[in-house]
């Protein structure tokens, strides 16, 4: 059985008090409880504070470009769907720079577990507005306050019939751990947006701010009703729901590719003897 020690990585370079620490700790706990070994999964990430995540634990890692983690994760999953593929992104990374990929990865329903560390700000580049920054938030780069409407990843995902849509909070680790485990055990693409306080640059959405607002979806909430889920996804402000907002049982992408029905692509040997026959087709 794997233990927490198996997952120790580089010492994080995050600011003391950063919400990312809570997520990292929770992720390791979840991995241990899931019985995952470091070589059994790959974390793909982009660029940002959140994207440094895989270096701070131990696992297969492809730390790629800002905004481009989902296509890389897609390529890995299609080449080897026996590998658990996890994508860790920032809100700018995933909802801004890589927004187009998010839309299409949801459509494909590739079996990727996406965790967005949503601090509603650009952390690594020191405090510019992100797509999830709230309207009116003043930053050095938005001196008149954020003018665009806040992006709602939950409503977006439900609208696209994403197969698993959830929101967690870095300050509620037990609940977050449950979400991580549910996501890993779900078949298909999963989006978990994690409210993550950035103590250095986001002075609006603090631990306190979130704590006063978040509430857990109860047992009476039916996460399989898409219309109700959409309504739930629209909630933001005085009350912010956390939990599994929506889930469905769509077939995942890999199941629909006949070529990899029996064997992951990476384990299919290349048969060079076929080439002779193909050559004849040109006569």
């Amino acid at each position: 059985m794997p233990s927490l020690d198996d997952f120790s990585g580089l010492k994080p370079a995050w600011c003391p008090g950063c919400g990312n620490f809570g997520i990292l700790k929770t992720f390791k706990d979840a991995a241990v409880e899931l019985g995952l070994e470091p070589h059994q999964f790959t974390i793909v990430s982009g660029i940002g504070q959140a994207a440094k995540f895989p270096h701070y634990l131990k696992c297969n890692t492809f730390n790629g470009l800002h905004g481009r983690s989902l296509p890389v994760a897609t390529g890995i999953t299609l080449a080897n769907h026996s590998m658990l593929v996890i994508d860790v992104a920032g809100d700018g990374d995933c909802y801004g720079e890589g927004g187009n990929h998010l839309m299409h990865t949801i459509r494909r329903n590739v079996n990727i577990k996406l965790f967005v560390h949503d601090n509603q700000i650009y952390g690594l580049t020191k405090g510019q507005a992100s797509p999830t920054s709230m309207e009116g938030m003043v930053t050095k780069n938005q001196p008149f306050g954020v003018l665009s409407e806040q992006f709602n990843p939950m409503a977006f995902a439900v609208a696209l019939d994403c197969s698993f849509v959830a929101r967690g909070f870095a300050g509620d680790q037990e609940h977050l751990k449950m979400l991580i485990k549910e996501a890993v055990n779900h078949k298909g693409f999963t989006l978990v947006d994690i409210l993550q306080p950035c103590v250095s640059f986001n002075k609006v959405n603090t631990y306190e701010w979130y704590r006063q607002r978040v509430y857990k979806l109860g047992a009476d909430y039916n996460s399989e009703n898409r219309i109700a889920a959409f309504e739930k996804a629209l909630e933001w402000g005085d009350k912010i729901p956390i939990g599994i907002i929506y889930r469905n049982n769509r077939l995942d992408f890999e199941e629909r590719i006949p070529v990899i029905k029996d064997e992951p692509l990476v384990r299919q040997p290349f048969d060079i003897s076929k080439v002779e026959k193909t050559l004849k087709e040109f006569y």
Partner: protein
């Protein structure tokens, strides 16, 4: 200067000259069939069907064929053409002069009549074009009426036209009837019979009515293979064990993806149409990282979007093959026309410094084998390799006696299964003598595989350490580069081994330059030097091509671009400056007559 035989292409000039100087030799039967047939009309009229069918009849009859196409960026209307050159000798470029015009629209007659050869004929259907032409070179064939009468449907007008062309050339119908049988196998006997009758009707009509026809076909031979440039790249990828191809459609690169997709089931390949080119290259990198051979492709605009991904391949040392199918730019440019203006882009694009390889095949055969070499080198050195093609090469078909498949290379450089799990430890970017760290398949062992687009340490974790930064840059660049250069084959020399005049080209102009050398070599000491392995510039150890250039009196660099990008590369990398430059940048390829004329004008 020493010239190994392997790089002197077998030339047939001497054979031709012997024939011409020796009337006793029976040249006219095997040699002097060299006809160009141009099918012109609107998009959607079936130009492609007639052209493809004729080419197939010719290649299966053992003739040498060269075809090229000119089309507009539209699905219906406009004016397109398909030109087929058929000969008893190898042909590898288009001619300006046309022997048979199949005019499916009036524009064809208007544009191409001046290009007719002395024995040239135009066939057309006066009822379809609603015009009549009386000259001796016109032959009015009622394609539609014959199709209705003999095939029962006017869709078969194209079959009538195809049969008619064969009739004019004095070529029998056996091969065509065989093709019809194959094509319509699924549609049943009725359709086969109808099409066959239509073909025969066209053939008969031409044989009887084309009194002026003076064509004579050469003796038929063993069937030849017929293949287009982009199909050859796609086939090369499939034959190299490519398992993953992700791209976004863009002419003229799309046909590579289509070819690979057509083989997906048989070979077990995943072809994914990405949401954009950024996704395409990143998906391919993900697949490659996971352990399979991966490729992507686009034209200039799409490749522009891949640029950051290209440097990601370099930084993470992830093998990747990229086809860059050039079209005239800037921006959207001329989507369906041809140009060689993206060499600089391929050479210098992307931030940072890293090794890359650039190939520019001149023929479909080279395209096939260079694609194979692209995979071999990208896997061996864990680098991006670019294959430059263009609309002209993409769509041109050539005949070959076959490809020597024993020349295909397939070496699996990845650490898989046992080979990986038996290691005591593993660091994805460990320093090695060669600069290459064996690449392991994640999941095949307890060791983890870590890589990063940030500068990283040997394990793959991000670092800002001074020493590591230097050592990693050296590993990627200086350790690998000399080995990569040593893999590059020198340019091919064609013609005289000690020439006074050297015509230099790269990529798809190979055929037309070769034929220009043929045309001029009767009176001039001339040769072609053709580069298909462009970067890193091959060393002169195997063949001192720079010496050859320096010893020549006139050296002319011929490029389908405005700024002589290859000439500049040779000056930058080898300090060599050409005497003369020939540039063409109107989006159209050179014809033999046009280039011969240009060269004559330069050398007097």
């Amino acid at each position: 200067m020493l010239l190994p035989k392997s790089i002197i292409l077998i030339n047939y000039i001497s054979f031709r000259m012997q024939c011409e100087m020796n009337p006793a030799k029976n040249c006219d039967i095997i040699n002097f069939m060299d006809y160009s047939i141009k099918i012109g009309g609107e998009a959607g009229q079936g130009i492609q069907t007639i052209g493809d069918t004729l080419s197939l009849v010719f290649s299966r009859s053992g003739y040498h064929v060269f075809t090229h196409q000119d089309y507009e960026s539209r699905i219906r209307g406009g004016h397109n053409y398909y030109q087929v050159r058929v000969s008893g000798n190898p042909v590898m470029a288009p001619k300006e002069a046309i022997d048979i015009i199949v005019a499916l629209d009036a524009k064809s007659i208007e544009l191409d009549t001046p290009k007719l050869t002395g024995i040239g004929q135009i066939i057309y259907d006066s009822s379809a074009l609603k015009q009549r032409h009386d000259g001796a070179q016109f032959l009015d064939i009622p394609f539609t009426a014959l199709a209705l009468e003999h095939g029962g449907s006017k869709i078969m007008a194209n079959t009538v036209a195809t049969g008619a062309v064969l009739g004019m050339l004095g070529i029998g119908l056996d091969v065509l009837l065989g093709i019809i049988k194959d094509t319509f196998k699924k549609k049943g006997e009725e359709i086969i019979k109808a099409n066959s009758s239509a073909a025969m009707a066209g053939h008969d009509y031409a044989v009887k009515q084309c009194i002026k026809c003076a064509f004579s076909a050469a003796v038929e031979g063993k069937p030849k293979m017929l293949i287009a440039g982009n199909d050859a790249i796609g086939f090369g990828a499939v034959a190299s064990g490519c398992k993953f191809y992700s791209a976004y459609p863009m002419t003229p690169a799309t046909s590579i993806m289509l070819y690979v997709a057509s083989k997906a089931k048989e070979y077990g390949i995943i072809v994914e149409q990405a949401e954009d080119e950024i996704a395409a290259i990143n998906m391919a990198l993900g697949a490659s990282f996971a352990g399979v051979r991966a490729m992507t492709g686009s034209s200039g605009g799409g490749f522009a979007l891949m640029v950051e991904g290209l440097s990601l391949a370099a930084m993470t040392e992830t093998p990747l093959v990229i086809a860059l199918a050039q079209r005239p730019g800037p921006a959207t440019g001329l989507p369906t026309k041809t140009e060689q203006a993206d060499l600089n882009f391929a050479l210098y694009t992307s931030h940072g410094e890293f090794p890359r390889v650039i190939f520019a095949p001149g023929t479909p055969e080279q395209a096939f084998f260079l694609t194979n070499k692209a995979f071999e080198l990208s896997e061996k050195y864990q680098i991006p390799v670019l294959i430059l093609t263009d609309q002209y090469l993409a769509d041109s078909q050539w005949t070959f006696d076959g490809f020597d498949l024993t020349k295909l290379k397939y070496n699996d450089y990845r650490l898989r299964g046992e080979a990986f799990s038996s290691l005591a430890e593993y660091k994805r970017h460990a320093f090695t003598e060669s600069g290459v760290t064996p690449m392991a398949v994640p999941g095949d062992a307890k060791h983890v595989v870590v890589t990063d687009s940030d500068e990283h340490d040997e394990e793959g974790h991000l670092t800002e350490d001074i020493d590591l930064t230097l050592k990693m840059a050296d590993k990627r660049l200086f350790k690998k580069m000399p080995q990569i250069r040593a893999e590059m084959e020198p340019p091919a020399l064609y013609g005289n081994a000690n020439p006074d005049i050297v015509l230099v080209g790269w990529g798809s102009t190979c055929g037309v330059i070769k034929e220009t050398v043929d045309a001029l070599s009767k009176t001039k000491n001339i040769a072609m030097l053709h580069f298909s392995e462009i970067y890193p510039l091959p060393s002169t150890k195997k063949f001192n091509y720079l010496g050859l250039l320096k010893n020549a009196k006139t050296t002319i660099c011929i490029e389908l671009n405005a700024t002589s990008q290859f000439a500049r590369l040779l000056r930058t990398e080898a300090g060599y400056t050409f005497n003369r430059l020939v540039n063409k940048y109107d989006g159209r390829p050179f014809t033999v007559e046009e280039l011969t004329g240009e060269i004559n004008a330069l050398i007097g």
